[in-house]
Amino acid sequence: MKKILTILRNQPTDSSDLKLINTLRDEAKRERLNDSQKIDFKIESINQERPNIFQESKSRRKASQLKLIYAFGFTCLIITLLALIPQSKLRLLLPGEREKLDMQLQVWNEIGELKEEIETSLLQHNEKLKIYNLENLEIEWQDHLPGYEALISITKIKNELLRISAFENIRVPVNSDLQFLYQKELDIIKESILTLGSES
């Protein structure tokens, strides 16, 4: 307790402590006396260096300011570019979107390739539906099959396209399930008219 009070009052603990303090003070006085003649400090002479020191810090400050300005400008440029680029293109930057687009393009290419074939098949189908001769009905129906196959394949492609579409929440009308209708029609033709087994 006494020790704590001594510390808090900043008092010497004993005579040797007091002696130490006095010696420190005496030595400090002696040092001060010795100091009095030694230094001939002239602020004017130091001021010669002042421009260097200050110019250095000034140029450093200027450099850091320039860096900040460049960084700000660059950020603005990036933001402007991002604003200008359409959202659909920006979307490609997301992981997986590029692959999705590749798949879509592939399907579109397939559609392009099949387009002529389908058109030809559909024309044939329409032509063959004009029944001129009942005797050749079975043969003519056989000729219709590529048209149906083409229709079914195009609906398959449509479904595939919808599955990989960028429009994720697209609503497909129930009545437009053409693949089902065409398949059903084809099965009826095969089973009832051609008496063939249904193939999906």
Partner: protein, 181 residues
């Protein structure tokens, strides 16, 4: 100049604020070694001298901010400590592992007499940087505990404890080494 030398630090600071560079030169001469010794636990002699110079230069440029109602020494030592921290201990060599006689005698030769007295030399050698600085400010600069606490960024009680422990350590080591205290 002789008239100026009779003036107090605060008066000289006041004159410096009015543009009297002689007044500031006198102040700088009064404090150069005191700041230098204050900085010695943080830097070697040469760097301490540079930092002292920087401190005085900073004080010169900021003299208009000095409040005449307060004493000058704590203001200047606060600047010294801040400049020293800014300069950074990394760039400067840590205080010489032991401030040997050779180094001191070199400096003494250069300056014509001893810069540091034996007990202070021992304090510089064995005490931690902050302990030495607190001792220096209190027993050599006669600054109050409150002023030292403000300069060092510590509580008054903290400074009192530092002083007590430093005295204990210094006294014990001085006794072992036979340095009269």
């Amino acid at each position: 100049m002789s008239q100026l030398s009779k003036k107090s630090d605060e008066d000289l600071a006041n004159l410096s604020q009015k543009g009297d560079s002689d007044a500031f030169n006198l102040l700088a001469n009064r404090y150069w070694h005191r700041i230098h010794r204050f900085l010695l636990p943080m830097f070697d002699h040469a760097t301490a001298a540079d930092v002292t110079q920087q401190t005085l230069l900073r004080a010169y440029h900021k003299i208009h901010l000095f409040n005449n109602k307060h004493t000058f020494a704590p203001w200047l030592f606060t600047i010294a400590r801040r400049v020293a921290i800014n300069v950074g201990k990394k760039e400067s060599k840590r205080k010489e592992t032991s401030l040997n006689d050779e180094t001191l005698s070199d400096v003494a030769e250069e300056n014509g007499n001893n810069l540091i007295q034996p007990l202070w030399k021992l304090a510089l050698e064995i005490l931690h940087e902050k302990s030495y600085q607190a001792m220096r400010l209190h027993y050599a600069e006669d600054l109050s505990i409150r002023e030292i606490a403000k300069i060092m960024g510590k509580t008054e009680t903290g400074i009192k404890v530092i002083l007590f422990r430093s005295r204990q350590k210094l006294g014990a080591t001085a006794k072992i080494r036979g340095i009269s205290s």
